[in-house]
Structures are given as C-alpha cells and as structure tokens.
C-alpha cells in the first residue's frame, strides 16, 4: 500500500511519494508540480481545483475560493476572519459554534470541505500518476497551528477520503527531506515563509533522528501579506490619481491581486517589474482606465521591510527558546515560495550569518518530507524518528479570566500531564473545564480549544471531591483532555473538537455527500449560532470572548491603591471575590456557568515582602499596581478557602485579632443560588493552597490565627497537606497537587510561567 505526502498550503499545494529510496513530486495532467489551493464552483455544479480555478478568480471571484487555509480552524469572530472578509470576494458567513462557512452558489460549505477539494485533487493526481488507489496520507501543517487548526486539517483529510496517518509540521517535514539518508549531524533552522503563515523551527538532525529543539511562528504572516502591500500601493495611487477606489470593485481587486503576485514573482528574477492592468476601471464618462507602473526591488523592499523584520523577531524567540544563538547553527533551510525572493534570501543570510542551503526546493521540500514520513509509517521506507514539540502552551481556565499553564510551549510530544481539582460548592453536580492554547495569562488572549462539562462524580461537600484532569498532546499535536474522579472512577473523556465546527456526524454526512460523486446534494441549511448552541450545549464554545467581568473593571483601581498595606489589599480583594462571583453568575449565555478552577499558587517574579501584620508577622502580599489585574483575579481563588473558613453565613475570619475579614457577602449570592435548588454552579476550587497559606500564616504568628475552619472542613481537604513533607522546604506538593501549591505563605503573587 502506498502512502503519499501532501503539503496543503495557503496558496499552493503539492503531493509527493517516496518509493524505493526515491522521492518524487507528482505532477498533474498538465505537468505542473505545484497546484494553487484554489477551488472554483462552476455554474453547472462542477468544481475545478488548481490553476484552472485560479484563472477563474478574475472573472468569477465570488465563486472562486482561494486561501481557505487562512480560515481553517478559526472562529468567525477572529481577527483573521475579519481580515479575510475584507479582502475576499467570496461570501464568508457564520456557521454553528462560531465556525466559519463559505456560501457559494447556494451551497454553504465548511472550511474543511473547501480544503478537502484541494486534498482530493492531490489524491487524484497521485492516483493518476501511480496507477493505483491511494487512501493514506501524511498531511503537513504549519508548526504553529493550534489544536483547532490541526483538527480542521484532519477533518479535511477525512472528508477527502484519506486516512490521515499523521499531521506533520511543515518545518519538520522540510528538515526530514533535507537530512534524510544523508547521515548528517547538524543543527539547522528551517525558515518557512508560506503564503499565509510563517514558521521557524530549530532542529537537531542525526542520522536517523530529527529532534525539534524549538518552534515559533506567526499564523498571520505570509507571502499574501507581501502581495497586499503591493495592492495597497497600487490602489492608493490609483485612488489619488482617478478618485476611484479599486477595492470596491471585486473584479478590479482580483486583477490587482493577480498583478501584485506577478510583480512579486518577477522581482525574484528581475530588478524591476512592470505592472500593467488594462481596463481596470471606468471613469465617470465610461472610458476604460488602465493601471501601469514599474516596481523596483528597492521600492518593494521598502513596502515589506517591516514584515521581514517581524519574521526575525520570531526567529529570535525560537533561538532563545532553544537556548541557542545563530552561531550554534550549521545552516538554514528556506521553505515556501516567498523565500525565493532575493530580498528575503539576503535578509535571511544576514540574520543567520550563513548562506541558505542551496539544494532544497522551497516549494516542494515539505511535500517530499511528508512523503518520506508517510512511506516510513507504512513500512515502505527506513524509519526516522521524528521528535517534535508543541508550539503553544496548553492552559486551563481558572477563576477570574486567567489561564494557567499546564504544558509549556516547546515541550516534546507526546506528553501527558495531570492536575487535580476539587469542587467549589457543597454537593456540586458538575464542573466545566475550559482548555486554551496560547502564551497569555489572560483567557481571552488565548485560543479557546473547547470546554467540557464533567459530572457524575461523588455527591459531596466542597473540597471532598477530587477531580483529576489529564491533558494529553499526541504526536499530531492534537490535544486530548479527560477528567476523572479517582473515587468513583467515573471518567469523562473528550477529544476536544470544536472549531472546525464539524461534529463526527457532520463529517460523515459530508463524506457521504461527496461519495456518490456528481449528484449535487442540497446544501445544509445554515444553523444560527443560537440554534447550534442549543443543539450542542456541551460542545458550544463560549463565544467571542467572555465579557470582562465587572469586577475587573471596578476593582482595578481599588487594588492599585492597596499597594501599601496587605490588610487593605485583603479588604479589597475579598469583596472583589463577591463581585467576581456575581458577574460570573450573570453570564450572558443561558446556562453558561463559569468555570472557576482556582489556582491558589500564583507565583510572582517580583518578590516584595509586603506589609506586616504587627510585629513578627510577615505577610507576603504583592499588590503592585502593575499587577493589579493579577491580584484581583486571585480574589475568587482565595474566596474559596476563606469562604470555607467563614462558613456559609458570614462568620468572621479573625487573624491574630488584628484584622477582621468580613466574608459574609462573598458567599451570599452563591448560597442563595444553592438554596434555590440550582446547585449547578459550574465551578471548581482548589482551596488547599490557600488553606495551607492560612496555616503557614498561623505558623508565622505563632498559632494566633483563628482561621475559623471547622475541624471537619479541614478534614475535607482532598489531599494531605504536604507543605513541608518533602525534603527541601518547598519541594512539596503531590504530583497532582501543583495547582494547590502548598509552599505559599499566603503569598498572592502573579505567576511566573512565562519565564
């Protein structure tokens, strides 16, 4: 059985096969090795893919879909989709679960369906060339693709009737093609500037091993952005001269696009490109106007200089993540059409202080690497061990809109991590777990991979339930999250699968729709977002971004003022918890209960021994103004345990008789809700850290703290307190207990996971 490698690109795609030690890029019937990733929907219901489709774009832009990969795995509300809507002639509409759909000739298609047309074309090319059916493929993705984008790519493969053996990162594939069978021992950078994405990977290549040391990228930066700059220049100049905005004319815009791309290509060879578009528009009298202009390399360089600089910023980051400098590298491999530009080659050689590897075809090397790996996976080719990393940090949403890191970016995959949580409310029935990918501590700034609800755990008081949440990233870079109650062994598992907007059933339906070939099926009626959410309550992503809880808006200045005295700060923070809860309950979506996974241990870089509670009592409390939001966010975190301490009816927590922390308001709204019988407050709390904190404070002031924690409450902790059990005062925390780090002595400090 032969398995192929497919480079599914934003602008162009390519298919290759490795057999008997040879790698061949397969040409289509016209002898072309590179196929534009463009799909044209003709009036007669047929579709065309590739160069033919691309040439239709000028005449029928609204029926011709290009660069669909930019939309793959994106939410409708994302910046990228907004941008695409502005420049695309085809109709981009919103589908279920905030997914993106394309409306073309009365059909509404999911993005993976569009990509599947391209993949099917690749499969067809391979079958024609190889003279046998092909069902298995390795498909490449930008290394920086998140889980949503990877899932969507995989869905596209399924829809195209392919068994996707592996999603392989493009730079890794390129390195494999470069190093395969050469017996090299080298450390190389792969600079991959594609049509729509930029990736940089640093790899160590051995004779049979390819280890990715680090990978970074920008999924918003590619050759098409270079074209856009040229389009901008042409359109602006034209508008200045003729007072006609070419962008408002679909046909003119397509002509501009084609001309800009051609000019860019010409500049790879010549020092100056001629741009000439006849009949680009008509003036007021109906006379045809033409656009003519020369573009020199220097002009072009000026237009795109900042884009190129952006790629080097990403390179800096990748090198830093790998703990290397350019001098540690043996070379750089260029991948992607735009790297043919002399401008880029020069900038790259300057940055990496070496000439790029010459024996690599930037358009084909990725497909070749994919083919080599495909062959090795089906046993046709010698095995190479590919050790890749996850490009983005995996995070879990915690109370107050924060996202805590569970797995750092550039951690090797496959990997698995488990964290334990407990419930926030007595007799809580379910919890909601939200998983993110990204580098920000703020939830909204990360990509939401999905949320799922876990229920069926032990019916018990808060803190008595233990929920183990396991995060797994597999060799495809796809995220799996499972939750488990170790007591009841109840397991809820979900392969987080959201934003292609396609469920397994939908994919199946699409596959079937495409199976009995030409019979054009009726387009599925697009569901409104509301209908979709209603239909898929457990899988519905939260929406664009959760509105900022009012608490954040209100409290920030208060917290900022509280920098001097910890006592003040606590007074501020505690009522804040209340506000936080309110806003969480007042969540806009029906039935949308906020997750309140509470991370008690949030460590700060700034170590600022805070105010003193009387002599001999040391109390670390960082409430630096700059970190106001962090501190504030912690409020609910402490609210859990302190709420515990205070009891349901607002008893007073006394610390050494010196401060009274009135906690009555904090629990009130929750308890009211509880009393009303709606116990489904979807929240998790981890009170252990904070309880430990209280205990630590207790130690510090010689046992003078009356935490007010009833004995049985203390017993209710899910895990033994191991603050000082392990050797080395801070090396405590059971393996599952990192969230409730016991080593904190009531430090409220922002996390340091970015370091």
């Amino acid at each position: 059985m032969v398995a192929i490698g497919i480079d599914l690109g934003t602008s162009n795609s390519c298919v290759a096969v490795a057999r008997r030690g040879r790698v061949d890029v397969l040409p289509n019937a016209y002898g072309e090795h590179i196929c534009p990733s463009v799909v044209h929907f003709a009036a007669d219901g047929s579709t065309q893919v590739g160069q033919q489709a691309k040439s239709r774009a000028i005449h029928e832009p609204e029926h011709t879909i290009a660069a669909a990969k930019r939309l793959l795995g994106r939410y409708f509300f994302s910046e990228e989709v907004k941008k695409a809507k502005a420049v695309s002639s085809y109709q981009i509409v919103e589908g279920a679960n905030h997914a993106v759909r394309i409306k073309v000739r009365e059909q509404t298609l999911a993005i993976p369906e569009i990509s599947a047309f391209v993949l099917r074309e690749m499969k067809t090319i391979a079958e024609a060339q190889l003279g046998q059916p092909v069902t298995q493929a390795v498909i490449t993705v930008p290394a920086y693709f998140n889980d949503n984008q990877r899932q969507a790519t995989r869905d596209a493969g399924k829809i195209a009737g392919l068994e996707v053996l592996r999603l392989l990162n493009e730079p890794t594939a390129a390195a494999l093609a470069y190093g395969f069978g050469k017996g090299l021992t080298q450390r190389v950078a792969v600079y991959d500037l594609g049509g729509g994405t930029f990736d940089i990977s640093i790899l160590e290549i051995g004779s049979d091993i390819f280890e990715v040391l680090s990978t970074c990228g920008d999924t918003f930066l590619g050759g098409e952005d270079f074209d856009d700059r040229v389009i901008d220049l042409l359109a602006d100049e034209f508008a200045g001269r003729h007072k006609i905005n070419l962008r408002q004319n679909r046909f003119a815009l397509e002509k501009l696009k084609a001309a800009a791309e051609q000019a860019k290509r010409d500049l790879s060879i010549d020092d100056e490109a001629r741009i000439c578009i006849a009949d680009v528009a008509n003036d007021a009298e109906g006379n045809a106007l033409q656009l003519e202009r020369g573009l020199t390399r220097a002009e072009f360089a000026n237009l795109v200089a900042d884009l190129i600089q952006r790629t080097f910023k990403v390179c800096d980051e990748a090198l830093q993540q790998a703990n290397l400098t350019v001098r540690d590298l043996d070379g750089v491999i260029l991948v992607g059409g735009p790297t043919r530009l002399p401008l880029i080659r020069e900038a790259v050689s300057q940055y990496f202080q070496c000439e790029p590897k010459a024996d690599v075809d930037p358009d084909q090397v990725v497909a070749m690497g994919a083919a080599i790996h495909a062959a090795s996976l089906v046993g046709e080719e010698k095995d190479s061990c590919l050790l890749d990393v996850t490009p983005l940090s995996l995070r879990i949403g915690v109370a107050g809109g924060l996202a805590e890191t569970v797995i750092d970016r550039n951690t090797p995959v496959p990997i698995e991590q488990t964290a334990s949580f407990t419930t926030f409310k007595d007799f809580q029935k379910s919890v909601k777990i939200r998983v993110y990918q990204g580098e920000s501590r703020v939830q909204e700034e990360n990509e939401l991979l999905g949320e799922f609800e876990f229920s069926g755990f032990k019916h018990a008081r808060r803190g008595e339930v233990r929920i183990d949440v396991t995060f797994e990233i597999d060799t495809d870079g796809i995220v799996n999250v499972t939750a488990r109650d170790p007591d009841t062994a109840q397991a809820a598992s979900t392969q987080i699968h959201l934003s292609s907007g396609l469920t397994e059933e939908e994919i199946q339906a699409i596959v079937e729709k495409h199976q009995p070939a030409p019979a054009e099926p009726a387009a599925p009626a697009p569901l409104s977002a509301a209908e979709a959410i209603a239909a898929l309550p457990r899988l519905a992503p939260r929406g664009p971004v959760a509105p900022l809880p009012e608490s954040e808006l209100l409290a920030a200045p208060l917290v900022a003022e509280a920098t001097d005295l910890a006592a003040d700060a606590l007074d501020v923070l505690l009522p804040e918890a209340d506000a936080g809860e309110d806003s969480e309950l007042a969540s806009p979506l029906p039935d949308d209960r906020d997750l309140a996974v509470v991370a008690p241990d949030v460590e700060s870089k700034a170590d600022d021994p805070g105010a003193l509670f009387g002599a001999g009592v040391e109390f670390d409390l960082d409430v630096g103004a700059g970190e106001a939001s962090e501190d504030l966010e912690l409020a609910p975190a402490d609210a859990g345990p302190l709420g515990n301490a205070a009891g349901d009816d607002g008893r007073t927590l006394a610390i050494g008789g010196e401060i009274d922390l009135e906690t009555s308001d904090m629990d009130a709204p929750l308890d009211e809700e509880f009393a009303a019988g709606d116990v489904d407050l979807e929240s998790l709390a981890l009170d252990e850290g904070a309880l430990d904190s209280l205990a630590a404070l207790d130690d510090d002031i010689g046992g003078a703290v009356d935490t007010g924690v009833a004995a049985d409450d203390e017993m209710a902790l899910t895990r033994p307190r191991h603050a000082t059990a392990a050797a080395g005062a801070d090396a405590g925390g059971a393996e599952d207990g990192w969230f409730g780090d016991p080593g904190v002595d009531l430090s409220i400090e922002p996390g340091d996971d970015e370091s």
Binding site: D383, E618, H722, G728, S755
Partner: protein, 175 residues
Amino acid sequence: MPQTSFAEIRTLAGILEELDYYQVLELAPDAPTSAIRAAYHRTSRRFHPDAHRDAPPELHHQVAQIAKRVAEAYSVLRDPRRRQVYDRQLEGDQARVRMPLAEAEAQADRQRRDQHEGRTPNGRRYFALAKADLSRGDRASAERNLKTALTFEPDNAIFRAFLQELLGRPAGAAR
C-alpha cells in the same frame, strides 16, 4: 530503529509508575547534561509510537504511555533548574518519581528566589540583618546573623556561600 520486543514494552509499561525519570531514560542520577539528550534519542528510538505502528493494538496504548513518560522525563531533566528541583524531590522522604512540569517550573523559580533571600520568615530576616551588618562593616554581627539564618535554613546554598565568604575573607576587606 532498533526493534523493541513486545514483552519489553509490556514489562516497562507495567512498572512505569515506579520508575523515576533517570530510570525511564536509563541514565545515572549524576549523568551530565550532555548525556540527557542522547538518552532521550536512544529511548525514543525504541519507544516512539511511530516505531510500533505494527504492534498489536493493545500495545499501542502502552507504547504511548512510555513515550509520553520519556518526553516528560526529558522535559524535566534537560532543564538544569527543573532537574535540581526534581533531584531534591527524589531525595525527599516521600519519594515521588513524577513531577508536573508546571510545578517544576514554578518551584525552580521559587527556589532561585528563596535561595537568594531565604524562604522562611526568620531566614529572610536574619539574612537581611547580616547583609545590613556587612554593609556597615560589622563582620562579627553579620556572622552571628548568618549563622542564625542558617539554623532556619540549613540547606540554603546562598546563605552558606555568604558565610564561607565572610569567614574566608581577610579582616578589613570591605564587601
């Protein structure tokens, strides 16, 4: 890639929870940093899921478990800071063989900070006093305070280094 027998996979998967990261990577606990990557490569060649696609399906899960643990071990041991935290954990009474990556990271940070300023209130206080003494040139008092700080944190390397420097330094040398 060297073939790994199914029996070997089963056995290793069976005892995985008891193995520390050094055992997972087949490394000596004092292995130099340079040996860790080589060990990761060696172990990955044998247990990478790709190398066992042909194995019976029931082994796929076990291979994946091993591969994930290998990556985890590598993630901790390749980072000298994380490794230090992990080593301390291993030496502890409740020997835990695994360490969540985020915890390793946070603890490495905290350890670095604690080593500087002390992690107990008293350690910090007496260390601060000692530093104040030193800046005034009161070496005798600094020595007393450092020793006191060390009684609270006997394993604080920074405190110890300070004391050694103080004791070793010829009289009259200003800090």
